[in-house]
Symmetry: C3
Subunit: 153 residues, 3 copies
């Protein structure tokens, strides 16, 4: 409980290692969204800026292509949830939580956010698939932030 | 000044504790924006994806509902300002700042961003309420980032 | 390689100092995007909320002003790339990378993202200027996240 943060930011700490692993997986997943958006842009020849319409005569500007906007919504949802998780998870490691609980929460967030992307932006799966995967990552993130707030009081 | 970062990431360091507390409060506030968006979506029966229109016959897709878009703008503004604060504040702790100044800056950012959300997305308050609350968090965040840049040179 | 994180989050560690410097520069750059958006709003008298239209009779609400939307796209692109870099770079420092490589990667990301903003939102430069500056920051960020994932395994 009253351990120094120093002793926790340590690769012998399995909780920290698990946090690093799942965070870097989610970083990679999130960065891939840019490529997925680009892929949809080239596939549909639909761009956001005049200077991007240079490859074919069919290139056009539009902001309502459903395939592109779907990927962009999934990407924004990542920013709303994965970026806060990076902070919440890091702080949570510093509260010296139970290793079993913490490692499983990190796994849950990691797997849930990967599933969220798949059912949102890769193959559209009917609800409540996206809702469940959203809350399976959202609730643990809220829990971690709450634990940190209580701990820091 | 030349203290090791190690000695600062420590729960005996009141500056670090204050940073952790206000960051976790802002994490929770920011995560709540997703629920507020969802609330507005169900209340106005307006969704962003076809697969979300499953509850009532009146469910529709639209991207211009003023209640929803207002919450989404507030949420995006959080991402533009609170997420950089997490990083700026953390680095700033590592520069071993005056405790009195640092703790009050963290409080200011925390309170200002809560007020920003209230006057933007909960009860719309005429300007300059939102402008003041915006800059009351923006200027301290810029100050912290500047201190870090100077310190790291 | 197996060094404690503790020994790396240290101002004697040139890699950490370089990370702090470039991250704080990018923080400042990114925060400036809000001011640039505001500037475009006042210049074009185009706002996002009714309560913001208070200065002149010509103030209007619109979400399709090309000057404003261009800055907002550049700002969103920053959130999609610079915010993940803060996390990826921090973790990467903890993997105790080669100083020469790490410091040059941080420089590359920092300079590339500054150029990205200039060619996107200040003076529009034909492609592939923006594409090159995007990938010059994107690829190093992916590389860092990959290194962390491998390290944490």
């Amino acid at each position: 409980m009253a351990k120094d943060a120093l002793d926790l930011l340590n690769f012998k700490n399995e909780v920290f290692k698990s946090y690093l692993f799942w965070s870097s997986v989610l970083l990679l997943k999130m960065l891939l969204m840019s490529l997925l958006t680009g892929l949809q842009r080239f596939r549909t020849q639909t761009f956001a800026n005049p200077e991007d319409c240079i490859l074919t005569k069919k290139d056009k500007i539009a902001y309502d292509n459903p395939h592109i906007e779907r990927v962009r919504r999934a990407h924004r949802n990542d920013m709303e949830n994965i970026l806060p998780f990076f902070t919440a998870g890091f702080f949570y490691v510093l509260t010296n939580p139970s290793a079993l609980l913490a490692i499983n929460l990190f796994r849950l967030v990691g797997v849930a956010r990967i599933i969220h992307t798949i059912v949102y932006a890769v193959v559209v799966v009917p609800q409540p698939a996206r809702g469940i995967s959203f809350f399976a990552a959202f609730i643990p993130t809220v829990y971690m932030a709450l634990q940190v707030a209580i701990f820091a009081l």
